[in-house]
Each structure stands twice: as structure tokens, then as C-alpha cells.
């Protein structure tokens, strides 16, 4: 009988051991922290803010940078490429083939910034807290602006009562999930930026937003709003007060090699460890040459004169599969890094200068506008000769220079849109001499004010959020 008592003890012990296993179901990850425990520690705020810049980087190293050129007259698809982003190129966006990606990272920035702002009082009052609040507000505003310029009209051509976007100032889901008006949207963007302006330091280090970044962004936002006076005021402040300069001709190549930063008000820094190769969007280079995805529209390419430093800084003409192509090399490689690794520009002094020129010209101040424009031209053309331009000529010259300078940096589509312009692609092929396959007739042009200037919300988003209203035309 002893034996059976012994067995009974063993069984009992086994049962107990099983019950204690219940606690083992409470497993915690080793590479994530529960949200609720992160933003209670001041030291985590710095790490978390850097994480928000990481989301911003994910945004600018992908669609926001290439799409505005793909969907306009700057780029045409190379027939023997991988046909990435073809739907956009063919101007066939619809609610089912344009997924939510273009908004995804912006929303991560917004959600994260709101999370941090909601917990900001964990920090002691002082300069650090004030400056960080400014960064968070600016990040939130910039991401809302990116969504607004894509999914809504710009106030410069739309009415205040037109559809805006969902503007989130808190993390609670469902509170504010309807699109507000266009007027309200931009009021919110400007309010966040104006507030940030007053909070920020002059310098937060490379890759971080500072006071001048916000002034520069405001000059852009005000142009989108059609407010030339405010655009001029903010751009002028940067020109007058900031240490940033228009990249001198001698440094243009260094700028794209990511070794010169004198003009960079904000860029997304890409580290080798990030495994982000934004150059792949444009093409990949191997032993037989560069296999491009997109090449410049032939007419556009011809706008670069041989004396323009950008012609060689942005393009390389070489053979692939027995044909010559004009390849885009802006993001091809940072020296010492793997192929196609490069920083993504968000705001540089050249744009601020061009914003200033555009605003000055709009305000009728041609002399100042011409001077601002020449700040760029003297630093780009080896044979620059002063020409006195005025009126519409000057305005056209500013837009031309803007298109040439800011090509492949996410501007063209929006610049056309905010001016109420359409575009016509050059009826030429993808080869360096303009031969090859031209864009199909259906994708040769987009008329001014076409509904496709406002992107469609993904069907998925509409399904989930019944309050979300689709843009007209889709």
C-alpha cells in the first residue's frame, strides 16, 4: 500500500506543477515594450521622438518622393524595367489599386506625435520640453500637410468649404474620423506650425526639425494656400536669419553624395543598418549597366542645358541591353554605403529661395524675385548670363527653375496641382534619344483640375470608417 501512497503523492505533485504553468502564459516580448510603460520615463521621450523621425524617413524614402514625378511629366516608365508603380504612371489610380501606403507612414507619425504630446507633461517644464513639443507639433503638421496635399485640393485652387482631410489631434480612435473642410484643415496645419515656430531651437542637429525648418515649411504651405505675402515673410526669415545657404555649384555633387549639408533644412537620414534603398525606385546598377525603372520624360530632360551642373549631377546616359538611356542617379549611392542607399531630402534652402522668388513675383516685386531666382541660377549654370526678366516671363522662369532644381524630390505633381495646371507628357520614348515606347495615349496628359489630382482613399479605409467620404470621380 505504501507504493500507492507514493504514487498518489507523485500524481498530486504533477497536478500542482501543471497549475503553476498557468503563469507561464503571461509572456512578454523581448523587442517591444508595452505602450503604457514607455512614455512614463523622460529618457524614453528622446528615443520615441527619434522613432517618429524613423516613420518620417519611411515616408520620404518611398512614395512621397517618387510618386509626384511618376504621376506627372517628369518621369516616364522604362519599358524593360520592373514596371513598379505602373498604375500611378498610367494615371489609373482607383480605390482598389492604390492601397493605403501613401498615408500609412504619415499616420504613424501623427499617431506617434499625438501619443507623445498626450504624455508630454511627464517631462519637467523647461527648454527641452518646449523644444520637443515644437518638434512634435511640426511633425504632426507636416504629415497632415502631406496627406492634405495628396487627398484634398489645395486652398490655392479650392474653396474653403471643399473636402479636407481627417485632422487628428488626439490618439483616441473614432473621435474625429470625418473629413473636415479644406479651410479648417489648413487652419490646423498652420496653427500647429506657427505654434511650433515659437517653441523650437535654432538647431536640433542634422535630420531634426528646428525653427528654420518650420519657417521654410510654412513658406511652402502658404504657397499651397495661395497666400503669397505669408509665404514671402516666412521664406525671407529663413534667408535673412538662418545659417543655411543655396548649395554652391562646387558642392552640388557633394550634396547628393550626402557629404555636404549646408543647404539641408530637413532630410531623412538613412543609415546602412536601416536596409532602405530608395535609389531602387529609380533603377539598379550592375555589371551590364543601369537597369532603370523610370527615366526622365524626353522633353523634360532636354530642358537641362549642357552648362547646367544638374545635368550630370542628376542624370547619367549609358547603355543597357544595347540601348542608351538617361538614368536618374540622384539617389544612386552614397560613397561607402551599399548601392542605392541615400538620404531623402525633405526641405532644402533651394526650395525656400524658390518659394521666396515665387511669392515675390506674385506680389509684383519682380526685382527681388529675379534676385532670388538668380541666387539659384548663378550656382547652377557655368555660363550664366544676367537677363532681365519680368512679369509672366519671370514667373515662368521661376517655375522652370523649380522643376529643374527640385526634380525627383516629390514636388512636380503638387506644384502643377496647386497652380491649377494640367500636364502633357512628351510623346517620345524611353531611350536617350527619345525613341522607344512613348506613354500610351490614355496616359499622355492630365487635364487641369482633373479629379485624379486628388488621390482616392483606399476601399479598405472606406470600408472600415463609414464616416470617410471618397473623393469625387472614383
Amino acid at each position: 500500500m505504501k507504493k500507492f501512497k507514493y504514487i498518489a503523492c507523485v500524481l498530486f505533485a504533477l497536478m500542482i506543477s501543471m497549475t503553476s504553468c498557468k503563469d507561464k502564459l503571461d509572456l512578454l516580448p523581448t523587442n517591444e515594450l508595452e505602450t503604457s510603460i514607455v512614455l512614463v520615463s523622460p529618457s524614453n521621450f528622446e528615443l520615441f521622438t527619434k522613432g517618429i523621425y524613423g516613420h518620417l524617413r519611411d515616408n520620404y524614402t518611398s512614395l512621397y518622393t517618387i510618386l509626384p514625378d511618376v504621376m506627372s511629366d517628369n518621369l516616364i516608365i522604362k519599358q524593360n524595367g520592373r514596371k513598379s508603380l505602373q498604375t500611378y504612371y498610367l494615371l489609373l489610380t482607383n480605390s482598389e489599386n492604390t492601397y493605403g501606403e501613401i498615408r500609412t507612414f504619415s499616420h504613424r507619425v501623427i499617431f506617434s506625435a499625438n501619443t507623445a504630446l498626450e504624455n508630454i507633461d511627464v517631462l519637467e517644464d523647461g527648454e527641452y520640453k518646449t523644444n520637443l513639443t515644437g518638434e512634435l507639433l511640426a511633425l504632426r503638421a507636416l504629415s497632415h500637410f502631406d496627406i492634405a496635399k495628396t487627398f484634398a485640393k489645395t486652398p490655392s485652387i479650392g474653396a474653403d468649404s471643399d473636402l479636407g482631410i481627417v485632422y487628428r489631434t488626439s490618439t483616441s480612435v473614432g473621435d474625429n474620423d470625418s473629413r473636415i473642410t479644406l479651410g479648417e484643415t489648413y487652419t490646423n496645419i498652420v496653427a500647429d506650425l506657427e505654434q511650433a515656430k515659437s517653441f523650437l531651437n535654432d538647431d536640433n542637429g542634422l535630420g531634426r526639425i528646428n525653427k528654420f525648418t518650420v519657417y521654410g515649411l510654412l513658406s511652402r504651405v502658404y504657397l499651397y494656400m495661395g497666400n503669397a505675402e505669408k509665404a514671402r515673410e516666412n521664406a525671407q526669415y529663413v534667408v535673412d536669419n538662418s545659417p543655411y545657404e543655396v548649395t554652391p555649384m562646387a558642392s552640388v555633387n557633394d550634396l547628393w553624395d550626402n557629404v555636404y549639408f549646408g543647404s539641408t533644412l530637413l532630410s531623412s537620414l538613412v543609415d546602412v543598418q536601416d536596409d532602405i534603398e530608395m535609389g531602387v525606385n529609380y533603377g539598379q546598377t550592375g555589371p551590364t549597366g543601369t537597369k532603370s525603372e523610370y527615366v526622365p520624360d524626353f522633353g523634360f530632360y532636354n530642358l537641362y542645358s549642357d552648362s547646367d551642373i544638374r545635368k550630370t549631377a542628376y542624370f547619367e546616359t549609358s547603355s543597357f541591353e544595347g540601348n542608351d538611356y538617361n538614368h536618374i542617379i540622384k539617389y544612386k549611392q552614397r560613397p561607402g554605403a551599399p548601392a542605392n542607399v541615400a538620404d531623402a531630402p525633405i526641405l532644402r534652402m533651394e526650395e525656400v529661395m524658390l518659394n521666396l522668388a515665387e511669392a515675390q513675383a506674385q506680389l509684383g516685386n519682380d526685382a527681388d524675385a529675379l534676385a532670388s531666382l538668380n541666387m539659384i541660377r548663378t550656382r547652377r549654370y557655368s555660363d550664366f548670363n544676367f537677363v532681365n526678366q519680368m512679369g509672366q516671363d519671370l514667373k515662368d522662369a521661376i517655375q522652370l527653375e523649380r522643376r529643374l532644381e527640385l526634380a525627383f524630390e516629390g514636388h512636380r505633381f503638387y506644384d502643377l496641382k496647386r497652380q491649377g495646371l494640367g500636364f502633357t507628357r512628351t510623346n517620345a520614348g524611353d531611350l536617350s534619344d527619345g525613341s522607344g515606347t512613348p506613354p500610351p495615349a490614355s496616359a499622355l496628359s492630365l487635364s487641369a483640375g482633373n479629379f485624379r489630382y486628388e488621390f482616392p482613399y483606399a476601399q479598405r479605409s472606406l470600408n472600415i470608417n463609414p464616416n470617410l467620404v471618397q473623393n469625387p470621380g472614383y
Partner: protein, 1018 residues
């Protein structure tokens, strides 16, 4: 010889009369196989007294005077008890096991006699899966059980399989059944590492009531694999040696690729008529010398990249036992050189299973499997690194190596290395260079074992306690080396630091701790009950480290200690745990009326505290009509089996849910090379199991001594709380979060029939035919934001399919093709409203009702003939009404879009003149996605045909059996599909996890093969 033994027996008989015992002798025959060598002969009721038969089947045994009967047993044959009252000489013939009904079937934590099962369970015997020339168990189940769809992922050696039991039950979670090997829940990587020759039997728990005992992991059905354990009946060791050698080749495509001249002519016409293509090339084609030089190159890239695959397998095993001990041990080796050059798979395995009765109340047992697999992999993704795409894409005028122009005959050699210089083709890449210079190797080690103690406790008959510890250790090592100076290195590498090496190692450890209490009791003679209560704890822990290095001095120095710069290092840890308790009661009255009840509660670390535990219940009833006396003797004689089964059960699915999904988290990340924290996801504390509820009704029948036997099953299965990774997204915060969002149903019918058309014992001749058929119908019942209005059904878009309420899951969603306008040659489509248009628009995509990758009907049929020692078996598999998106055809009939790559010959049938009626439009240089290449995939395939011969070996003392065979797989196929119809994965590394067979996108090609083998028993 017989006379001699007879005389011997008589002598012995005379000698033994003096003692209080006597001698019985005789001959044991195996039905259809001749004399039984090594059959067990014991005294019925006193198994300590026994012997085994000699090589001629004879035996002689001294038995106590009071012995009434002898018991005969032999593996694969039914035990037989023969009376020795009044006789000393016996002639016994044992019948094969398959012909008897009381075989014991493993049904999850216990085993019961098959006639007492009242739920839906299929059994695959070792015999049915032996000698099939594939590496993994999943593949062996193909066509073995109705309602079980098995699709090879692709033709890769050692490749995976998709198994679907009774349809698709989940939108975004796994649809793979739960695999349990000797009590251990394992993943496909583990069961595919096991040596199929070690398997004793496989039980497939198809209906929910049978699977409920596995609760939360069981909604896709359960596959229970039991390995050989040896037998106390076989005192003499059963030693078996098996050897196989065979060949494989790619199955033939039902289309041709263009040859040199066809391609040049095609390019010329395309350029001249439509301006599509390369002007320089076309101009060159007009030069007869140039044309001539290309013709001399004329190569077939399939010949360059493929070969005849070979495989070999050897297996040595020994099993047996004594009255206190059983054992089975085996060693196996399988090696396959794939049909694509460089690819290979080999596996070494060893096993020892043993049990020992340590005392009258304690039995100790173990299983232990160790294995190692080693494979050389090829990139299988839809880009230039994929040899399976290159073999179609590369042009016939592109040579493998650079040739001396203009003669185009001599290969150019690199003056430095002496190696031939690869031609980088029109894609700027050489795949034959890449497979040599970018080697990828994977090695896995597996240990799978268990220790168990069975205790008869408290001296209560039938009361048993079993405690069991199972462990599974799996290591995985991947080595990928982009050699310095290789073409790929030129694209992705750093010229300053040539070469990229990546080494990944992962280690997974899972243990299961289980306690089972069972009680078998018969009340009042006729009420038989089995009680089972148990607890189970499963703990899984996985660790991974991976690191890359660049800057290698030489291609031979591949380990990362040679790299100048180490980067991309990471290590991860993942843990998962579940805790379960379960109970089962099985009852029968005189084996006539059956009932069972099962309950399981599962707790899983992936769910928040609110829904951490799930409860699952099932019940079943059965009626063995053939045991009923009211049938009368005449009918009972004819009806060998007639059973009705009715069951209902609940099961769950938690696969795809990770341990930490319940938590809202912030993850570590990097910003500009410094650490940062990023929002990762929102909390889902209310996440809960996908639940399935399924009633099912079945009839098993057998007539005329089971000459005609079969079964009919009907089922309905409703799955609720479907997971979806996206539907709970905050639309303005698009990080994917898993939530429970919808419902779907499956319903179907399964039929199975086997008939012995000829069963002639005298001639030793049997001819059997068998077949199965099943139909499955799926429908999505609800999704989020369904307003109930059939005009606006709720939909989830997956591209190129959708899930929509009222339709099958993963219904294709495409623009409909309307052919080619004979007047203009324009490609035509239907717009969303059904009007014909020549302008393609993605907005015109519609749900193609009834068109999914999941076949509606499938089954198998075949025949088996046995005459004396010769066997001939053939089995066919068929499936009907499934659809595949054939992206391969779309690329090879691309209307000029892929003119730079080779095209199918029928691409040339494009529209040329008004009035031409063709399905290939006037080339525009753009290929549009539509259902033009959505192809119906009905097919019938001769899965395998096998001829075997058992040598007559009466005179050879040391051999007990020798069987030689030849087997052919996938010898013959008819299909409506434009390619090999067994489409599994589109492409191995393709994004997403679509249904198997949803699209074809250049994966490792399917194979057909021939194998020769010999099985020897000692």
C-alpha cells in the same frame, strides 16, 4: 521438407507424452504470401509458452496438458486463436489485417477499435505510403483519404505540401491541419524531416467531433502520425532493408517556346508593324551573317538550367520484442539531386522507440528521433535571380557563355581565372552564373523524443495513469554567399568591400508535459466505457541570430570571420505557451450503440486575459446495424459492416496569432544609426479564437465479407470569429492589428468505395478497384460593416481575389476579358456594367462568382491486382472546378510588353488583318491584367503506378522476404490548364500567403519520376 517436419512432429509427440505436457506442431501460412516465417505461436492464455515458425512456416511447441488453444500472430495479419483440443497437428492460414474490422485506430490520446468509432476518422496504413519516392510525409497523403486535399508547394526536393481537410476554414490564419507525431504537436518543418519508413499508421481526424480533443488547434483537422514501436509478439527481430534509386524530370509544358528564328522573326515583325522592341537588334537580324551567328548559338535554356534529377534512399530497421520489452530501431538516408541544377536535398535519420515493463504496475517507454537535412537552395522569387523564370525568359539566341564573334563557337575564357565568361543576357544577369556563385545552403537538425511512464494504479483493473514528457529541438542554419566578383555582387554589393555573406541560425525548442488518467470499465457485461482525463502544457521557445558581412578576399573564404565589415546583425527571442485540460468519455452497448463526449479547455499566451481560455465540446452517436439480431442470419452473412455515425463538435484555430498580439507595444528601431522607439501596434486584449462548429453524418458499409466496402460522409462547418489582420485598423493609423471579424461556412459530401472484383484464394488472385469523390462548397457569411443589404455586400480586397459576403472565400476579382475585336485587333474587355470596351480600367474589375483556386470536386481512383507474388497498383487523382491565375502565360503571351524576353510560339498568332479571328490581340506593348489568363484547372493525373514482385524464397534460410518493385509518378496527366496543373505556391518568396494554387509565377517545376527498389526482410 514438409514430410520431414511432419515426421519430426510425430517423433516429438511420442517423446513428450511421458511428461505432463504434449507437443503440437503444424504449418502457418500467410494468406496470399505463402509460408509464414517468424510467425508467433503462443499458448492462448499463457503467452510465456511460445515459439516462432521456421523458414518453411512450420512450428513445434510443447504445451501444458491443459492448454486448450494456440494463438498465432504475424505483423500485418490478424491474430488467430485455434483450438488444439483433440488434435496435435494444425494447419493455419492467417488473413491480412485489412480484412478485419477490429483494427485499433489512434484517435487522439488513445486508441480504440475501429468499429467503435462514431466520429469521422480516416486511417492511412504504413503499407499505403511505403516506397513512394518523395521526401516528406505531407506528400505521401496525396489521394489517400477523401476530403483531404494535398498539393505539393512545388517540385523542389524535400519541398513542402499544402494539406486542406474539408475545405478552407480561415481567411488570414493558417488552413493547415494540426500535425501530431507520437503525441507531440509539430510544424510542417518537423514532420517533413521524419523518415516515412518509420511510420506505423496515420489517422486523420476529419470531423470536428473527432478533432475537439485537440481543441483550439484543431479546426483544420488533425493528422496523427504514429511511428513503429515493435511488438511483444515478435520474439524474433524483424530486420528490414529497403533501397531505392530513381530519376525525375520536369513535367512537360503544353506549349512551346520560340526558337531562334521564330523569335527573330517575331521581333522583326513586332518592330516593323508596331514599333515595339529594339531597333538595333532588329536591324542586325537583317544581316545574314549576324543571323547566322545567332543560329549557331541556338540553345535551350531549359537544357542549360535543368537536368535529370536522381534520388536514392536506404533504410535499415529492426523491430521486435520480448514479453516485457518492445523495440523498433531504424536508420535512414535519403538523397535527391533536384531537376534544377545545384538544388539538392539529403536527409539522415535515426530512431529508437522502446518500451519496457519494469514491474507489474509500471511500464516505461520512449521514442527518439534524430535527423539532419541538408539542402542547396535556389532563389525562387519573381525576379531575375529566379532560374525557373530565366529558363523561359532567356532568348534562344543568348548563349550561356560569351562566345568569340563572329564565329560564335569558341567560348571566351577569363585570362585571370581561366573560367569561361558568362553572358549577361538581356536581363543584365546570368542565372547560370548566379546559381554557381551565389550559393545558398540550409541545414536543419531535428531531435524529437518522448519519455513516458504508464502506471496501473490502486490495483483497479483498467485504471491507468500516464505521464509523458515530449521534447522537440530543431536547429536551422542558413548560409547565403554572394561571392566577391559575382554578377549579383556587382548590383547589390559595395565595390570597396566585395562579396556579401549572410549566416542565420535559429533554434526552436518545444516541450510538452502531459498527464493522462484513463479508466476502462465494462458495467453489467454489456456497457463498455472508456474515461480519459488529461492535462497538457506546451512551451515553445525560438531564438534566432543572423548577421551579414561584406568585404571577402576570396570566393572560397565564405565564413563571416573572413569579412572585413560585419553588419545587419540581429538576434530575436520568441516564446509561446499553452495550457490545456481535456476529458473524453466513450461508451458502447454491446458494440451496437456508440456514444462519445469530449470537452477541452485551452489557454494560449497569444490572447488577452479576457479571452485567454477557450472551451470546446463535442458529442457523437453511432449505430452498428450489422450487429443487430433483427437483421437475421441471412442478411448478417451479407452485411459485414453497416454503421451510422452522427456527430457535432467545436474546434478552434489560433495559428498566426503571436504571443504578444494582445499587447499594445512600442518597438525598438533605429534612427540614423542610433536607437529609437517606435509605436508598433495597438492592444487587442479582446482577441479570441477562431471557432468552428460542425455537425457531420456518416455511414460506413461493407458487404459480402467486405468485398464491397466504403463510406459516405456529409458535413457542415461554420467558422465564426475569423481573424483578419487589417479590419480593425484605425483608418488613420494603418498599422495592421489582428481582430475577429467574420464568419464563413463549408459544407460537403465525401464518398469512398473499394471493391474486390476478383477475390480468389485458390488462384491467389485479387483484383481491387477503389475510388473516392468529394464536393466542398464554401461561402463567406459575414464580414465587418455588413449592412445586410445584398446589393452592398461587405468585402475584403486581397488582389487578385476578394472575400465578399455571399461568395466563396478568395473569389477572383478581375477585369473580364471580352476577346479580340476581329475588325481592329483591339483587346476587348467588359466594363463593370457588362458593356464591351477597348479601354482597360482597373475600375471594371468584378467578382468572378464561383471562380476560386479551391477545387469544388476532387478525389481519386485506382486499382490493385495481386496474382501470386506479383502486385500491380495504379492510382489517379483528379480535381475539378478550380481556377489559377496564370501569370506565366501572361508574361509569355505579353502582346509585346515582354518582347525582350522569349515568348511562347502562340504569341505569334496575334491579330494582323481585319477579319482575323484570334485570341491574341494586336500587340500594343502593354499587357493588361484581366481574366484572360485566369484558367480553369480541371485535371486528372496518374499519380503513381507500381509493379512489384515478391520472390519465392522458401529455400533461402537467412532471408524471410524479398520484394522488388518499379514505380512511376506523375506519368500521365490531362488538364484544361496551360501548364503543370499541380500549382502550389506561385513563387516561394512571393509576398503574401495566398491559397495554394491561386496563381502560377515560376516556382520550382513539378516533376515526374521513375524509381526502382528492393525491400528485403531478414
Amino acid at each position: 521438407m514438409k514430410h520431414f517436419s511432419l515426421m519430426l512432429a510425430m517423433v516429438l509427440l511420442i517423446c513428450s507424452t511421458a511428461l505432463a505436457q504434449r507437443t503440437v506442431s503444424g504449418t502457418v501460412m500467410l494468406d496470399g504470401e505463402g509460408e509464414a516465417i517468424g510467425a508467433n505461436v503462443v499458448v492462448d492464455g499463457n503467452e510465456a509458452i511460445g515459439t516462432v515458425t521456421e523458414y518453411d512456416g512450420t512450428f513445434t511447441l510443447d504445451v501444458p496438458a491443459d492448454a486448450k488453444a494456440l494463438k498465432f500472430s504475424y505483423t500485418g495479419f490478424a491474430d488467430q486463436v485455434v483450438s488444439i483440443v483433440g488434435t496435435d497437428k494444425l494447419s493455419v492460414t492467417l488473413a491480412p489485417d485489412s480484412e478485419i474490422l477490429d483494427e485499433v485506430v489512434v484517435i487522439g490520446y488513445n486508441a480504440i477499435k475501429s468499429d467503435k468509432i462514431s466520429t469521422g476518422v480516416s486511417v492511412v496504413d504504413a503499407e499505403e505510403i511505403q516506397d513512394v519516392p518523395v521526401a516528406n510525409i505531407g506528400n505521401l497523403l496525396q489521394g489517400k483519404s477523401t476530403g483531404v486535399q494535398v498539393t505539393s508547394a512545388n517540385g523542389k526536393p524535400g519541398g513542402d505540401t499544402y494539406i486542406r481537410i474539408r475545405g478552407v476554414n480561415s481567411i488570414s490564419s493558417s488552413n493547415e491541419p494540426l500535425f501530431v507525431v507520437d503525441g507531440m504537436q509539430v510544424t510542417s518543418a518537423v514532420y517533413n524531416a521524419i523518415n516515412p519508413n518509420d511510420i506505423e499508421s496515420i489517422s486523420i481526424l476529419k470531423d470536428a467531433a473527432a478533432a475537439t480533443i485537440y481543441g483550439a488547434s484543431a479546426s483544420n483537422g488533425v493528422v496523427l502520425v504514429t511511428t513503429k514501436k515493435g511488438s511483444t509478439k515478435k520474439q524474433k527481430a524483424q530486420i528490414t532493408f529497403k533501397a531505392q534509386y530513381g530519376f525525375k524530370e520536369k513535367t512537360r509544358d503544353p506549349f512551346d517556346m520560340m526558337d531562334v528564328n521564330q523569335k527573330m522573326d517575331y521581333e522583326t515583325e513586332m518592330f516593323e508593324k508596331f514599333g515595339i522592341g529594339n531597333a538595333t537588334a532588329v536591324a542586325n537580324y537583317e544581316d545574314p551573317d549576324f543571323r547566322d551567328s545567332l543560329q549557331r548559338i541556338a540553345g535551350d535554356w531549359q537544357d542549360i538550367l535543368l537536368r535529370t534529377g536522381t534520388f536514392q534512399s536506404y533504410d535499415l530497421s529492426a523491430g521486435g520484442g520480448t514479453d516485457k520489452m518492445k523495440y523498433f530501431a531504424s536508420a535512414g538516408y535519403y538523397s535527391e539531386e533536384g531537376i534544377a541544377k545545384v538544388s539538392s536535398f539529403d536527409r539522415m535519420t535515426g530512431r529508437i522507440n522502446a518500451s519496457y515493463q519494469a514491474s507489474d504496475w509500471l511500464t516505461l517507454s520512449n521514442t527518439l528521433f534524430v535527423g539532419r537535412t541538408n539542402s542547396n537552395e535556389l532563389r525562387d522569387r519573381n525576379n531575375v535571380q529566379n532560374p525557373f523564370r530565366a529558363m523561359y525568359d532567356y532568348n534562344p539566341y543568348e548563349s550561356e557563355f560569351i562566345l568569340n564573334s563572329p564565329d560564335a563557337s569558341d567560348i571566351v575564357y577569363d585570362p585571370d581565372t581561366g573560367e569561361p565568361v558568362y553572358n549577361l543576357t538581356h536581363q543584365g544577369f546570368s542565372i547560370s552564373e548566379a546559381i554557381q556563385n551565389n550559393p545558398e545552403n540550409e541545414v536543419e537538425h531535428h531531435i524529437l523524443g518522448s519519455l513516458a511512464a504508464d502506471m496501473k494504479i490502486l490495483k483497479v483493473a483498467g485504471l491507468n495513469f500516464r505521464t509523458e514528457l515530449n521534447g522537440n529541438l530543431r536547429t536551422y542554419e542558413r548560409r547565403y554567399f554572394i561571392e566577391p566578383g559575382s554578377v549579383l555582387d556587382g548590383y547589390v554589393g559595395d565595390p570597396e568591400n566585395p562579396g556579401i555573406g549572410t549566416a542565420t541560425t535559429s533554434r526552436r525548442w518545444q516541450y510538452t508535459f502531459r498527464n493522462l488518467l484513463t479508466y476502462n470499465k465494462t458495467f453489467a457485461e454489456n456497457h463498455n466505457t472508456n474515461f480519459l482525463v488529461g492535462q497538457e502544457f506546451i512551451d515553445f521557445d525560438s531564438r534566432l541570430t543572423s548577421v551579414s558581412g561584406r568585404g571577402f578576399p576570396n570566393e572560397d573564404l565564405y565564413t563571416l570571420d573572413n569579412a572585413a565589415d560585419i553588419y545587419n546583425g540581429r538576434s530575436t527571442v520568441y516564446e509561446e505557451a499553452s495550457l490545456s485540460a481535456f476529458a473524453k468519455i466513450e461508451y458502447d452497448y454491446k458494440s451496437k450503440y456508440l456514444a462519445s463526449f469530449t470537452y477541452r479547455v485551452d489557454g494560449f499566451s497569444g490572447f488577452g486575459s479576457a479571452n485567454r481560455f477557450g472551451h470546446f465540446v463535442s458529442g457523437s452517436l453511432g449505430w452498428n446495424i450489422h450487429y443487430e439480431d433483427f437483421l437475421g442470419e441471412a442478411l448478417k452473412e451479407k452485411i459485414s459492416q453497416l454503421k451510422i455515425r452522427l456527430s457535432v463538435g467545436q474546434t478552434g484555430n489560433n495559428s498566426g496569432i503571436l504571443s504578444y498580439d494582445r499587447l499594445g507595444t512600442i518597438a525598438s528601431a533605429g534612427f540614423a544609426g542610433t536607437p529609437s522607439l517606435e509605436i508598433d501596434r495597438a492592444a487587442r486584449q479582446d482577441l479570441r479564437w477562431e471557432k468552428a462548429l460542425s455537425p457531420s453524418l456518416g455511414v460506413d458499409f461493407g458487404f459480402f465479407n467486405n468485398r464491397v466496402a466504403g463510406s459516405i460522409d456529409m458535413y457542415y462547418k461554420k467558422v465564426t470569429d475569423l481573424f483578419s489582420p487589417e479590419q480593425f485598423d484605425d483608418p488613420d493609423y494603418d498599422r495592421s492589428v489582428v481582430g475577429n471579424i467574420g464568419e464563413m461556412k463549408n459544407r460537403g459530401i465525401e464518398l469512398e468505395l473499394t471493391a474486390d472484383i476478383i477475390r480468389n484464394r485458390d488462384l491467389d488472385f485479387t483484383w481491387t478497384v477503389f475510388g473516392s469523390w468529394n464536393v466542398n462548397d464554401n461561402e463567406v457569411l459575414s464580414l465587418p460593416d455588413d449592412d445586410g443589404n445584398p446589393e452592398t455586400p461587405s468585402t475584403i480586397f486581397n488582389d487578385p481575389t476578394i472575400d465578399r459576403v455571399g461568395l466563396e472565400t478568395n473569389t477572383f476579382y478581375l477585369v473580364r476579358s471580352a476577346g479580340v475585336d476581329p475588325a481592329t485587333g483591339d483587346e476587348l474587355w467588359y466594363d463593370a456594367d457588362g458593356n464591351i470596351t477597348n479601354v482597360w480600367s482597373g475600375d471594371d474589375a468584378v467578382a468572378l462568382e464561383g471562380k476560386t483556386a479551391q477545387p469544388k470536386y476532387q478525389g481519386n481512383f485506382g486499382t490493385g491486382i495481386r496474382f501470386k507474388g506479383v502486385t500491380l497498383n495504379a492510382s489517379f487523382y483528379y480535381q475539378l472546378d478550380s481556377y489559377v491565375m496564370n501569370y506565366m502565360a501572361s508574361n509569355m503571351l505579353s502582346d509585346g510588353e515582354n518582347i525582350a524576353s522569349n515568348q511562347r510560339t502562340d504569341a505569334n498568332n496575334f491579330w494582323r488583318n481585319p477579319g482575323d479571328v484570334t485570341d491574341i490581340p494586336r500587340p500594343t506593348g502593354v499587357s493588361y491584367t484581366s481574366d484572360r489568363f485566369l484558367q480553369r484547372n480541371d485535371y486528372l493525373r496518374l499519380r503513381d503506378i507500381r509493379i512489384g514482385y515478391t520472390l519465392p524464397l522458401k529455400k533461402v534460410k537467412f532471408l524471410s522476404s524479398v520484394n522488388v518493385f518499379a514505380q512511376a509518378t506523375n506519368l500521365f496527366t490531362v488538364t484544361t490548364y496551360d501548364g503543370d496543373p499541380e500549382v502550389g505556391i506561385g513563387s516561394d518568396e512571393a509576398a503574401g500567403d495566398p491559397l495554394p494554387g491561386q496563381f502560377a509565377l515560376y516556382s520550382y517545376p513539378a516533376t515526374r519520376g521513375m524509381t526502382f527498389g528492393v525491400n528485403v526482410g531478414f
